[in-house]
């Protein structure tokens, strides 16, 4: 689960959205990427997950150059992501959604003979994940009927159902109330024991709670890297965020 | 000879343009593919036929047929499209598909199933000599109408405030609303305009192609191909697409008649392979 971002740059026309970004993630650690609006976090995230392609630089996963890998291919390598805006299967129940995501983990997606709903292995996996994300009481509820906070949890659940090696979380607490945010933080903390995680976040408190190592972006450049306490003390970071 | 073929191709392209531009404007604005666009083209031709028969004047038909078609569009907007604006795009398309059936039978009920023809007005019934070849002046008129519409639309869209409002509504409806742009009104007028353009195409081309049931689907497919190739929602795309398809079809029919049909679909296939959003984005 070693992810290396080497000298990534991306521009749209004459605007340099990202310049010479280097990020290094190894073993089971939780990396945070923060920065004010417009810093380029979203773009960086999309480059790592494969949605857009960088102009220059290298994305390496476990020593493999994945620059030309599509989102699908990266997912099959073990890079899984959750989205800032809920991207669920609204007509499916929690259980069905998790089972569907698991069908890729067990590589049975081309199997024609056994109904998915009868596959005990996958059912077990789905129930286990539902427990992990705190939705075991909602297994038979359709995704569209879940409250927003619970939908966010399902969003995470689908991402981990494919047993990823690396989890990319895009603003997991987006749109949440303080109470819901607390629950998500607890959940992600639990997940960080089992998965390597990269979180892009806007909310500083969330990152301080979860990350071992934090990268700070400002206007497309990497301006600081360090532990939560170092970031908290840094006058530079304060200046960037507060404009002092 | 080549000049004649070139002009024929250009005339065909301009016809396609008139049809495609209405469809692409509606698609760009409302994200609806109005499959009944061919039906509106047909209605324009038939209404023009009636006006021409009763009033014995092509020009009256030419002016009022598009207006009537625009009114039909306005009616459809109020009764149907306005309410389904926020529905799933697929459902909206299916609705327009149902309208095709209604349009076809309505025309059959009112005008019968025979084919009809409209004569070009006297002033355009002659031929003009171009480089020692006679060419029907009515076909030149069709080319002229196409270009005139193109220039008007370009001018309105790019140089007027209303045009700016339309473009704003297409690019970002939410912000447009915040800027106090009445997006509903704009949708209504633009939709009616798009329908009116289809009617204009119908009456303009009627003296050449005739008026008959079934004319709605014949043009719909080519119009769709033009829109797909040119890029939905783009005025420039409608023009370039119409020119491309029009010329490929016309010259194809002359030099390679067996392959002519397939060439157009090959063009479409290639466009979809390499530029799935069409040649020009809105």
């Amino acid at each position: 689960m070693k992810l290396e971002i080497n000298n990534i740059s991306k521009s749209y026309g004459s605007v340099n959205v990202l310049e010479n970004i280097n990020i290094f993630s190894d073993k089971k650690e939780c990396i945070g990427i923060i920065g004010p609006n417009g810093a380029g976090k979203s773009t960086l995230f999309k480059i790592i997950s494969g949605i857009i392609k960088q102009d220059n630089g290298l994305v390496e996963f476990n020593k493999k150059n994945i620059n030309n890998y599509s989102v699908e291919q990266r997912s099959r390598l073990g890079i899984s992501q959750s989205f800032q805006k809920n991207s669920l299967f609204l007509e499916m129940t929690v259980k069905e959604s998790l089972m569907l995501a698991s069908s890729h983990k067990y590589k049975i997606s081309f199997n024609l003979f056994k109904p998915l709903i009868a596959n005990n292995l996958i059912i077990k996996n789905a129930i286990k994940i539902a427990k992990d994300i705190g939705l075991e009481d909602y297994l038979e509820v359709k995704s569209e009927f879940l409250a927003y906070g619970l939908q966010r949890q399902l969003e995470l659940g689908i991402a981990i159902a494919c047993s990823p090696k690396l989890l990319l979380l895009d603003e997991p607490t987006a749109g949440m109330s303080p109470a819901e945010t607390k629950d998500i933080i607890k959940l992600i903390k639990k997940l960080s024991k089992d998965y390597s995680i990269i979180i892009v976040e806007h909310d500083m408190e969330v990152i301080y709670n979860l990350a071992n190592n934090i990268y700070v972006l400002d206007r497309g450049r990497l301006v600081f890297e360090g532990s939560p306490s170092a970031v908290k003390k840094s006058k530079l970071v304060q200046k960037i965020y507060l404009g002092i | 000879m080549l000049l004649i073929q070139f002009l024929n191709a250009l005339q065909f392209s301009m016809t396609l343009f008139l049809l495609a531009v209405g469809l692409t404007i509606i698609f760009g604005l409302m994200k609806i593919v109005n499959l009944a666009h061919g039906s509106l083209y047909m209605i324009g031709a038939y209404v023009g036929l009636s006006i021409w028969s009763y009033c014995d004047s092509f020009w009256l038909a030419f002016i009022f047929a598009p207006l009537v078609t625009a009114l039909v569009g306005a009616f459809l907007y109020f009764v149907l499209f306005r309410h389904i604006q926020n529905a799933d795009p697929m459902r909206q398309v299916l609705l327009t598909f149902g309208l095709i059936y209604i349009g076809l039978d309505s025309v059959r009920m009112i005008w019968g199933t025979m084919s009809h023809s409209i004569s070009a007005p006297d002033v355009l019934s002659n031929s003009i000599i171009l480089i020692s070849e006679p060419y029907p002046s009515y076909r030149l008129f069709v080319i002229f109408v196409g270009f005139f519409v193109l220039i008007c639309l370009y001018f309105i869209l790019e140089k007027t405030i209303i045009g700016a409002k339309v473009r704003a509504s297409v690019d970002d409806p939410e912000t447009a609303k915040l800027l106090k742009i009445n997006t509903d009104k704009i949708l209504f007028y633009t939709f009616s305009l798009g329908c009116g353009l289809a009617g204009l195409a119908g009456i303009t081309v009627a003296p050449i192609l005739g008026v008959e049931p079934g004319m709605d689907m014949e043009v719909l497919v080519l119009t769709l191909i033009v829109v797909v190739v040119g890029g939905p929602g783009s005025l420039k795309g409608a023009l370039i697409g119409a020119l491309l398809i029009g010329f490929v079809d016309s010259f194809g029919k002359v030099y390679m008649p067996q392959l002519a049909q397939i060439i157009i679909y090959a063009v479409m296939a290639l466009t979809l392979l390499f530029r799935p959003d069409g040649l020009y984005k809105r």
């Binding site: 599509s70 989102v71 699908e72 997912s75 899984s80 989205f83 991207s87 669920l88 299967f89 609204l90 007509e91 499916m92 069905e96 089972m99 569907l100 069908s103 890729h104 049975i108 997606s109 081309f110 199997n111 024609l112 003979f113 056994k114 109904p115 998915l116 709903i117 689908i158 991402a159 159902a161 | 994200k31 593919v33 499959l35 799933d88 795009p89 697929m90 459902r91 398309v93 299916l94 609705l95 598909f97 149902g98 095709i100 059936y101 209604i102 076809l104 039978d105 309505s106 059959r108 009920m109 497919v221 769709l224 829109v227 797909v228 049909q261 679909y265 296939a269 979809l272 392979l273 799935p276």
Partner: protein, 317 residues
């Protein structure tokens, strides 16, 4: 685009009821009824094929009559020009449909829904224009003299209307079973997920293009089956079989039935075919009514008759 709720039990129940009705009417009906029953069975097969790609993969095709035509013309040419026994021509037609769809699918399955509709409409029209003018395929006269399979070695004379209707119903059951199996399998569930949220399926590692291409192929194969049976029923082909209104009717059938329910396609096919038949005998403007009715269904009955039955069951169950 929404589909009906995933309910394999109700799906099976409705299918059994409908097929039983078809069988009963077949046994006790007269010549014309039996012919009609065969038509309904064949149209149901076509509707199932359309329903499959619409609900599993979100691909609404307005040109699927093309595959009816491919199945039909393949059957005709293979049996008349190449002397292949009619029974085998059906299987070969299915394969031909499958392969052609695989080729076309490579280009079009990833297109956005609305583009997909436009392109399939265009392709359908191209095919229609081609068969209308092709001398090889009989042009506007079509091809006459198509024989039904000879199953006399097991004691069935398919020239008997009763027997051929049973033969068609038999194929309907096979088609239903096959599609239902795929729908419940991981492949089908993934296709359903693709309809709901394609990008998420990519994000969890699904092979979206492959799944959709397979679905499109299978659907074409089944439509070809319907085409093959249709020409054997009638004994001749008319190029009108590939007219866009046939594709449109198919679409109306699956919407009325309820998209995604599989057995709803059978229900929709039966209802629409009966209504259309009865209406066209009474008034000349039946297309107007069908179009109007269709619009009402799209507006107010989103999950079709199947959804209606589901709701009634819930109320009284």
């Amino acid at each position: 685009m929404r589909a009906v709720n995933y309910n394999p039990k109700l799906r099976l129940q409705i299918m059994i009821i409908l097929v039983s009705l078809l069988v009963i009417f077949n046994i006790f009906g007269g010549y014309f009824t039996r012919f009609f029953i065969a038509e309904i069975a064949i149209l149901s097969i076509f509707a199932i094929s359309l329903d499959f790609i619409a609900s599993r993969g979100g691909m609404v095709s307005l040109g699927h009559a093309m595959f009816l035509g491919i199945g039909a013309y393949s059957t005709a040419i293979l049996s008349i020009n190449y002397g292949i026994p009619p029974f085998y021509t059906t299987f070969l037609s299915i394969i031909i449909g499958l392969l052609i769809a695989l080729f076309i699918g490579y280009f079009i399955v990833l297109l956005d829904g609305i583009f997909f509709i436009m392109v399939t409409l265009a392709l359908g029209e191209m095919f229609h224009a081609w068969v209308f003018t092709s001398e090889l395929l009989g042009g506007s006269d079509g091809i006459p003299g198509i024989m039904r399979p000879s199953l006399t070695f097991i004691g069935f004379d398919l020239n008997e209307p009763l027997i051929f209707s049973f033969y068609s119903i038999f194929w309907l059951i096979i088609a239903y079973y096959f599609i239902a199996k795929i729908t419940d399998a991981p492949l089908g569930r993934n296709l359903d997920a693709i309809r709901q949220n394609t990008s998420r399926v990519s994000a969890i590692g699904g092979y979206t293009k492959a799944y959709k291409a397979i679905a499109f192929s299978i659907s074409a194969g089944i439509a070809s089956l319907a085409g093959s049976l249709y020409v054997q029923l009638n004994g001749f082909i008319s190029p009108e079989l590939t007219h866009w209104t046939v594709s449109g009717e198919g679409l109306i059938m699956i919407i009325v039935g309820g998209i995604g329910s599989v057995s709803g396609a059978i229900l929709g096919a039966s209802v629409v075919h009966i209504i259309q038949h009865e209406l066209s005998n009474i008034i000349s403007w039946w297309m107007f009514i069908i179009g109007f009715g269709f619009i009402l269904v799209v507006l107010f009955m989103q999950d079709g008759l199947w959804g209606l039955i589901e709701r009634i069951k819930k109320k009284f169950g």
